[in-house]
Symmetry: C2
Subunit: 460 residues, 2 copies
């Protein structure tokens, strides 16, 4: 074992399954030994699964000495911890001269380590999961190619969604929870969505976010809708798209989801900032009625239709009924809860994946560019269906790029030092190539340029 | 001068004008000397106006020794500072055994001083301005009377508004800024409004707040609208209304204001949490367009009408035009600004009181109660028109109760010690009586009980 190269993986949650499986599968050929560390030993042991090339380790990252010892003994470190918890591990990696790989957004604190990391010749590779991760790599591959061919980028739109696979899609929302439900319930509440369209900055407040969707088509999978992420402009400079006219990043749902979700937003059901009264014995019907005006005898249904001006034949109504929102017998049964917590409970009853269900990851990029005076557009899309409930599409697409990057760094196929994200060809080319073997394949097609013709703008 | 009783007034802003005038007018008869302390000497001097019974003092409340000396030399202290800045002064008052009067909400920190205050036999009277202040006193006077007569309170609604006087009301919004404009722009953003109606808790999120108004009538002044305050239930226990079926506190505007204001809310123009891009050269028209979907040739007007479904003949449109929101020549001209700051600037241009303008304070209470098996309702209302731009209705109604309470405490007509608010008869009776001399008069009438008949409730 002493001759094996040791990979320390901190955090053995859902997103680590495919990552660990990939590395274990290669452990003999690549001479690897995995140390899978988690706060919960049982969880780590599930993932190592008595494999001879793996050890499970109990680790509370606040136990500094134990954490430092684990880092010191490793040849390379993967942190699958939440983004805010990487820093201690990152400092250990600098101290002991170890490379670090994470799937998290680069925090300011992480970025501040760049000089130290470079000075030691280390690679701290971040944002190398799905989103962020595969989105960066697949976008930069095409952007770099367009530029290399002499094209000038004028439009970039990028959408990602974690959905349910068509064969498991059996509810009216065409949605199930494939990741943290709370994040889905409070999505969009961080502040106004900001993007640029035809050179104009646009801002969408939370109360309008779910009514400003864009319809998307993906061959073989039909129609989807995209809704704006909070900050579409964050990667404008990083991607080298400083002068781009249109830049928009968004989340993918099936068509109709957002219009129905907007009912929750308008009622105030997604608010996670205050506790409601009397939630223990509150029925689902009383929950919805808490957000409607009082009336001595009008029904909850009539009040809701009138309040939000929902037509009698609007299909969103059946989506609400499917959740049993009007049921006076179903009880919230939580002693203290915010509206968002109650909504999450109601949704979880209906939107939990069944044992045989599969999830689906969908990604779509649109690239508009000018080449030799002609405006062109390329669309590139990827659809991944999960293998099962452990090796989900989410686990694969988050974990595999992390695992591949780790091995390529260990094997010195990726060598550029520093705190970075996978936007360089050295990184994205080999990883995108290898991802194809695992079914992560982008389909590219040229379409007519769909941006608006600047010359036709009369006013605005 | 050494025999005079010294009143220290900290903070000489707008709200201190009527307060200082009242005390100066009584200074000879009552043997008073006022020390008016402010960060700005000129402001303090404007208020003391070379009166022989007053001294202006420069005081930065963070200069602890100077502050403590000022408190030590006073016989009683009034703090007109913002609520968060009272604490140092309050501690000084305990240390030197001085009574303290403020118009601010009692903070937890202030409440925590209660035992010390009582131990020293001191009175820390808070919330004795307009709202909070006159609202507490005028409500408790009637509530105590109803209870004393054997009535059982079943409904309490209370509304207050700072508006423009009818003779100065010359814009379509029927509104001008009579207080801090920023507070008006961000009003309602602190969290969902919460109240109880016919025994049911109700919650209104910000995005619906301005569409859930209640129409109010005040004899001689016509129709108004009330919109819910954040927490209507805060005073339920304090007022002794624990079992009340309906409790609602709100803000008064003229009818139609809220429907038009809702346009700003829906667009996201009241957001004070992020800086917009390119605000220096942004026109008002571009400002509104930032919140609308991009279109190559549809006008801002058409997009707005479509987006918020505003009918061609909706009168709110003229309210928007009056503000010149569609004007492409008017420039924001601010280097960095949030949407709320830009909106405040646009509104301030149109909603600033002219030199001859007068403001108006409106307060309305509704009391529902059961007496001998019969449901009854009393409405009590107050309208105060400002005297001029210095002695505004706002300054009078905030400052006069503070001044009156100060003098009555100094003269030992109010004696109950402790950190308190004016809900005791000892306080509200004499002050409400004296306020009448200054035109602060409540008109009471009995109306049919307007609460909903519990027996008619079939479902809900």
């Amino acid at each position: 074992m002493s001759t094996k190269r040791q990979i320390l993986i901190i955090g053995a949650g859902r997103s680590a399954s495919s990552l660990i499986q990939y590395l274990l599968d290669k452990s003999d050929a690549e001479n690897l030994h995995l140390v899978v560390a988690d706060l919960t030993l049982a969880l780590a042991e599930t993932k190592t699964n008595a494999h001879p090339n793996a050890t499970a380790l109990v680790l509370d990252i606040n136990q500094v000495e134990k954490r430092r010892a684990a880092v010191q003994h490793a040849d390379i470190v993967i942190s699958m911890l939440p983004a805010s918890m990487h820093l201690g591990v990152a400092q250990d990696c600098i101290d002991f001269g170890k490379h670090l790989i994470t799937a998290s957004y680069v925090s300011n604190d992480m970025m501040a380590m760049d000089a130290q990391v470079k000075a030691k010749g280390l690679i701290f590779m971040n944002e190398i999961g799905l989103d962020p991760g595969i989105d960066h790599m697949s976008a930069m591959q095409i952007i770099d190619r367009i530029k290399a061919n002499g094209g000038k980028m004028i439009l970039f739109e990028s959408f990602t969604g974690g959905l349910v696979a068509p064969e498991s899609d059996d509810n009216l929302w065409h949605y199930k929870f494939t990741w943290n439900p709370r994040n889905v319930v409070v999505a969009g509440q961080g502040g106004a969505a900001k993007f640029i369209q035809e050179g104009r900055y646009k801002y969408i407040p939370y109360q309008k976010l779910f009514r400003r969707t864009e319809i998307l088509h993906i061959d073989g999978y039909g129609k989807f809708e995209g809704l704006a992420n909070r900050d579409s402009l964050k990667y404008r400079e990083i991607y080298g798209l400083d002068d781009i006219h249109t830049m928009y990043r968004g989340t993918i749902r099936r068509v109709g989801y957002s219009k129905a979700w907007n009912v929750f937003v308008q009622l105030g059901m997604t608010d996670d900032t205050y506790l409601m009264e009397n939630t223990q014995n509150m029925s689902y019907r009383e929950f919805i009625n808490s957000f409607l005006p009082y009336h001595p005898y009008d029904s909850v249904e009539l009040k809701l239709r009138q309040y939000l001006q929902i037509d009698q034949d609007d299909v969103l109504w059946e989506k609400l009924e499917e959740l049993e929102l009007f049921n006076p017998s179903k009880k919230v049964n939580m002693p203290k809860a915010t509206p968002a917590q109650i909504l999450e409970k109601i949704l979880t009853e209906k939107w939990t994946l069944k044992p045989e269900d599969k999830d689906m990851i969908v990604m779509l990029h649109k690239f508009g560019f000018e080449l030799n005076g002609v405006k062109k557009q390329i669309e590139s899309s990827m659809v991944v269906i999960g293998r099962d409930q452990v090796y989900t599409a989410m686990s694969d697409t988050v974990g595999l790029p992390v695992a591949m990057a780790t091995l390529k760094i260990l094997n010195k196929q990726i060598t550029r030092p520093g705190v970075q994200i996978p936007i360089n060809q050295e990184v994205y080319e080999p990883i995108l190539e290898e991802l194809k073997e695992y079914g992560v394949v982008f389909t590219e097609k040229e379409v007519p340029y769909l941006g608006y013709n600047q010359e036709r703008i009369l006013g605005y």
